[in-house]
Symmetry: C2
Subunit: 356 residues, 2 copies
Amino acid sequence: MLSHVVLADPVALTRALVDIESVSGNEAEITDAVEAALKAAPHLDVTRVGNTLVAATSLGRPQRVVLAGHLDTVPVAGNLPSRTEGNIMHGCGTSDMKSGAALALHLAVHAPAPKYDVTYLFYDCEEVESERNGLRKLAASHPELLAADFALLLEPTYGLVEAGCQGTMRAVVTTRGRRAHSARSWLGENAIHRAGEALARLRRYEARSVEIDGCVYREGLNAVKIGGGVAGNVIPDEAWIEVNFRFAPDRSEEQAHAHVREVFEGFEVAVTDSAPGALPGLTAPPAKEFLAAVGRPPQAKLGWTDVARFATLGIPALNFGPGDPNLAHTREEHVEIDKIEAGAETLRRWLVGGEC
Amino acid sequence: MLSHVVLADPVALTRALVDIESVSGNEAEITDAVEAALKAAPHLDVTRVGNTLVAATSLGRPQRVVLAGHLDTVPVAGNLPSRTEGNIMHGCGTSDMKSGAALALHLAVHAPAPKYDVTYLFYDCEEVESERNGLRKLAASHPELLAADFALLLEPTYGLVEAGCQGTMRAVVTTRGRRAHSARSWLGENAIHRAGEALARLRRYEARSVEIDGCVYREGLNAVKIGGGVAGNVIPDEAWIEVNFRFAPDRSEEQAHAHVREVFEGFEVAVTDSAPGALPGLTAPPAKEFLAAVGRPPQAKLGWTDVARFATLGIPALNFGPGDPNLAHTREEHVEIDKIEAGAETLRRWLVGGEC
């Protein structure tokens, strides 16, 4: 049970959530605790789907926003229970992202009359394969529960606003040749040498930097794996390069695929994996007011996050959370306590105009 | 037992040797049979070392030549016992190289007074790793038994003279970089892209063709394997290319290594495997007379054979045998009977000046 005292204090609440171990797949206990706290708030309609919770106000406001966070963590690395030293709270999930989830839960319980209608979302299995992701599943089964004008994902950004996200795709570029004994190499065609032509294109490739709503998205096209060869005395007849293209959100997935095929024109290209980017969506009125509450310019999110799932639903979304993204998934994971307090204050300023 | 009738007929003798299964490691029975035949010839001194036989004349001739062949075969592929259809004898070892060994054994028994002293050599484990090779072992333990002015290796050449052999070496070229998340690729250095520079050098590489004693040795420098990569979202910090350099016998192994290091200057290069080439050695008097007996110009041997082991001992050596090298190690292995007869006649013409 999360007590009233704990729910009233985002720092204590972070610590309480961290101390309920919730490695992906083991979220039942933490979800029960969060559900009980939400259900105790009479201004919220609470729906539970598996280990995903949706708690919504229904105040008839003209705009609705989502505050979202996942409750799962990567595997514990000898870093539980939490411990606090001065301004630092150590422990698995402190940064990614129980400090963010604590801000949402604190506001859910303590802000009965926010400026916008708010949908609070707590979900499971973000740290594992996309198939199990609670947000992905809810968007597929109950998209109506996610309807909103703007979404804020409380992933670690160290108190900055990170807008939208890059798209990502992988493709395998295959080259062919003809086998021959390497003592008579001129009778064959070397597929690995041919792969060198594809690598030359990657070396010459000039990646774009695209500014969207003041955020600069820097693209990248890279070989991430390579393989080929038959035996030490055979001219190889096949080689392959796996490439990863991180693209700015002004390209659709289809445009990104077409671009990669164009770069490797003349080669066999098979797309193996793809996820769209998300536009920063800074023009929605609640986004503008949120940026004003933060008081700092937004930055482009370089990487892929669940904001892209909101973008796919047509909902502009930003990343904002107290944790340091560079500490996520590390044994040394921690959060700065004053970042939790500052984050709570920013959200209050935005949602209720002051204390709550 | 190989009967007198069989020993007198190189074709029958080939068939008899083929029908004694002798996959590498299982040469005892065939060696026993060959040893008995050699020991029955009073003009030969026979030495057996393991499953390697040396049978030498001692006529006091001013020149000594070696006739050499291995008695082992690659694994049987449903192609034993032998069978004959018209001019074709089918079966494992017919081409590589029991037809060649039969020529040597026939002459050993039936040419008591050749023009040169002759050392007949029959050895084991040629088709497996160099460590087990009977010729290699004999050269190390009893080099005096191999002393000669010229050597003829009866490997399949389809009745042509193939002179000397290319050297071969392998090296691994490694490239290094710095890992980074592929969403922020500019923070890393891509080792696979760097490997593309090494491949560009291979594509630009112009291989030499070297004429030695009228034989043209065509070199080749090729990637035979490539690998690298960490994960689909990581800029790789290491990649490697295995290259195979086949070099003309005017380069020593050391010179070949230095050449490859020069081609890949600026990269890490580790030599993993190396064997010297063999000069054609066509100027030795017995070699000239052998070429006259064949009556056709020699060709460069493209590939590596045990002639290089003779070259290392300072003995010029040629390849000459009735089998078709392209059929070696195939399920369809066979030899043309008239090539066996023609080979026997050539050797007789050279060693005894006519019939024997």
